[in-house]
């Protein structure tokens, strides 16, 4: 009798867990959607020198298109260098050109967006603080690893979250 109730309880808990995690998987909350989107962007921007990966102008073009599609048409990217000087890129086309250049110059690139924290979230806008860790390698030099904190603003268009603005956050300032 006790064993029967114990087994029934376990079964109910298991069914509840399947429903709970299944719901979260198939209907992720907006915060999870945004974090997944950023993870997808990091993966899309990464490439390796694996011989199975295509190279050349066409491959670079396809890569650039794939990355650029994560950005809004009027996306704005602002970077501060080590001397706190400001550099910027505006527009999806500029992002596409930069991605093309990146693919052409380096044999491999790995991007990771770590510790994402949602600062603001509305129905169709959000602001995230995240750390970008990237490793770039070209034929001539050893891999360079670097990290940078970013403030990312996203907008929702046609049910897709697109990057509207990226700004580097100077954690250590001159």
């Amino acid at each position: 009798m006790v064993k029967k109730y114990f087994l029934k309880t376990i079964l109910v808990i298991l069914i509840g867990a399947v429903i709970f995690f299944g719901y979260r998987y198939f209907f992720p909350n907006p915060e999870k959607q945004i974090k997944n989107r950023l993870a997808e962007l990091a993966q899309a921007a990464s490439f390796s020198s694996d011989p199975s990966q295509k190279t050349g102008q066409i491959a670079s073009g396809l890569f650039a298109d794939r990355v650029a599609n994560y950005f809004a048409l009027d996306a704005n990217l602002i970077f501060y260098d080590l001397e706190d000087k400001n550099h910027s890129l505006t527009g999806r086309e500029a992002v596409r050109r930069s991605a093309f250049s990146l693919r052409s110059q380096f044999s491999s690139a790995k991007f990771e967006l770590l510790d994402p924290k949602v600062i603001k979230l509305d129905a169709d806008t959000s602001q995230i603080s995240v750390t970008l860790k990237f490793t770039l390698k070209d034929m001539a030099r050893a891999a360079e690893v670097s990290a940078q904190e970013l403030l990312v603003e996203l907008i929702k268009i046609d049910d897709h979250w697109l990057v509207a603005k990226i700004e580097t956050v100077p954690v250590i300032k001159r």
């Binding site: 080590l82 770590l114 924290k117 970013l150 250590i172 300032k173």
Partner: protein
Amino acid sequence: MLRKLIRLALVAGLTFLIFKFWLLPVRITGLSMEPTYHNGQLILVNHLAYLWRSPARGDVVAVRTSGLRVMYLKRVIGLPGEKLEIKDGVVLIDGQPLTEPYLEVGRKQWQIGETKLNQDEYYVIGDNRQVEATEHLFGRVLVERISGRALW
């Protein structure tokens, strides 16, 4: 058998708590803290070091980014409220030269203009001064960004 399992679970739990919330394992990437720390070296950062006291000059601290998965490891050379300048590679604190025994001979002649630190700021810098200042990340950091002190 059950006692052994409970003991094992307690040890595993304690280990998890220690390395998650107190002593953070950190792998060093980069050369900015040479010769004190080397690229690829594994160290522990005491995340609770500044619970009871403030960072002191000479402390090697971990500066967090948006989280703790990536941190900058730098040395504190300037304290809140101080005026700091670098002339011919020598750090001047309120006009007085700072003795830095951890530096290697042959540092570059950095020239950095005077900075006055706010009451919530520290000045942090790497030990590797044999590179140009333009290749080195250093400067003012807010106290809330300092996440702990290197254990050794």
